[in-house]
Symmetry: C2
């Protein structure tokens, strides 16, 4: 969560404090009618820029949003935000909304913000000792779970269960006791030498690092499978790791206080991702 | 959707145009972390005020929101909004958010708005000839479906299917082909002399008019049952009607172009509700 004293870019200019505001007539501010992307920025360069914008534009078109600003406008805006906050390594977020109805054409609301990358890394990402809790409430993914929308209240509430327990992430389990994903990450388990991750059809976000890790495993000759993971399987998995654009690949050492036996493959994937994959388009 | 030239109340004062804005650091504007109530106002009096505030406060407590402003503050604010817009009959909305994190204590964001009631009534509410379509996409209610949250993108997208078809409402059907509710209303069917409505546990909003209609049927000696309604049953039901706080009770005459045979009971409940129930606490 960006702090209120930070500068952000909104609709063409840098704004701070009370000026960093969205009209209450914008559907985004009113009813969570927005889409966003979170990007890791290092040395001023956003990682996997093309993939993030691609997902944003595809979701916007599919859900009937106004056309987002062009990649060149967004790239220039991100540069402005980084400069205004004197940031080189950052967690950036691009948000577009469905705009204010009635205008012809309706224009999207759009803002871009950035905060220091270090402030956003989990304690467990930095130490290599990440921990998770399993949400105490059964999670029901909504119809739009595979889009990165700003209708995110349920995910934020789940995330706070981890904070309250001093853990890094909350794992979401559905009413059929299948593990879906983390509140802000995708989940992988290593079971019988296979890298397993839940399929998008179960109601998860098709994460950009998730897709990249699956492709990487194929290149490395590691068998992968997209299939449902029953909650009980987490306790017997050799490894469990989670992925997202900010944390990248993070092996878990504990789930609900129980130790995860190994993190060999997760640590290896983390290293390879970090060194060779994160900056690709 | 309130028009941009209308005055609204936000955090203690009346605001218009560009001043009617919410900080982008507020969780409500960012990620749909809000709760709202929609109220019908006639002759300056909000209908069922106590019930609406009760639902708001209970959801806020259950979901860990900051405490909403007191009923007397909200009532005075609503009066101010009505006066500023010279409205006596209105559709009003009260929204509270999870506020800006980091403050101690975190204060809720809160705004109240109102628009002319006539502008918000469906064509079918005014004519008594309301029509619905069934959403073409299977609807998956999220974990928080029984709370009135501002994480509402999926509901708005469903609603637009009705608009595109020239209908008043979109009915949501889940992956098991059970009818859940309308995008902004609860649904009832009359089957074999019984008034049937889906249970809250299926992932619907426990509407205030819904509860009132169930209680009213009991008082009138009409048998009621809360149970799942398969989509196929809609085609053989004697009547179908929908309810919400603005439209009150609305009999449907057509679903997906197919005629609903009768609207005797719905019209009767509509009349009784309108005359005797709507202004109760």
């Amino acid at each position: 969560m960006t702090a209120p004293d930070r500068a952000l870019w909104i609709d063409g200019r840098i704004a701070r404090g009370p000026e960093a505001a969205l009209s209450l007539f914008d559907r985004g501010a009113r009813d969570g009618e927005g889409l966003f992307e979170t990007l890791r920025v290092e040395g001023g360069q956003p990682h996997r820029w093309r993939r993030h914008l691609e997902r944003l534009v595809v979701s916007a078109a599919e859900l009937g949003f106004p056309v987002p600003p062009s990649p060149s406008v967004l790239a220039a805006a991100l540069e402005e935000v980084l400069a205004a906050n004197r940031l080189s390594d950052a967690a950036a977020r691009i948000t577009v909304t469905r705009g204010i109805p009635g205008g012809r054409p309706t224009r999207t609301g759009c803002w871009i913000e950035a905060e220091p990358l270090a402030a956003r890394l989990w304690r467990g990402t930095r130490s290599g000792q990440a921990s998770a809790v399993i949400s105490r409430r059964a999670f029901a993914p909504g119809s739009l779970a595979r889009h990165k929308t700003t209708s995110r209240l349920a995910y934020h509430l789940a995330r706070e269960e981890a904070r309250a327990a001093g853990a890094d992430e909350t794992l979401l389990v559905d009413g059929a006791d299948l593990v879906l994903e983390g509140s802000t990450s995708n989940l992988f388990a290593v079971v019988g030498g296979e890298v397993v991750t839940p399929p998008v059809a179960l109601g998860i976000l098709p994460g950009i690092v998730r897709a990249q890790v699956l492709a990487l495993c194929v290149r490395l000759g590691i068998p992968t499978r997209e299939r449902a993971i029953p909650r009980s399987e987490l306790a017997v998995a050799d490894e469990v790791f989670v992925t997202n654009s900010i944390q990248q690949v993070v092996p878990l050492v504990a789930i609900d206080g129980g130790a995860v036996p190994s993190r060999t493959l997760g640590a290896r994937l983390r290293e390879i991702y970090r060194e060779h994959e994160s900056r690709s388009a």
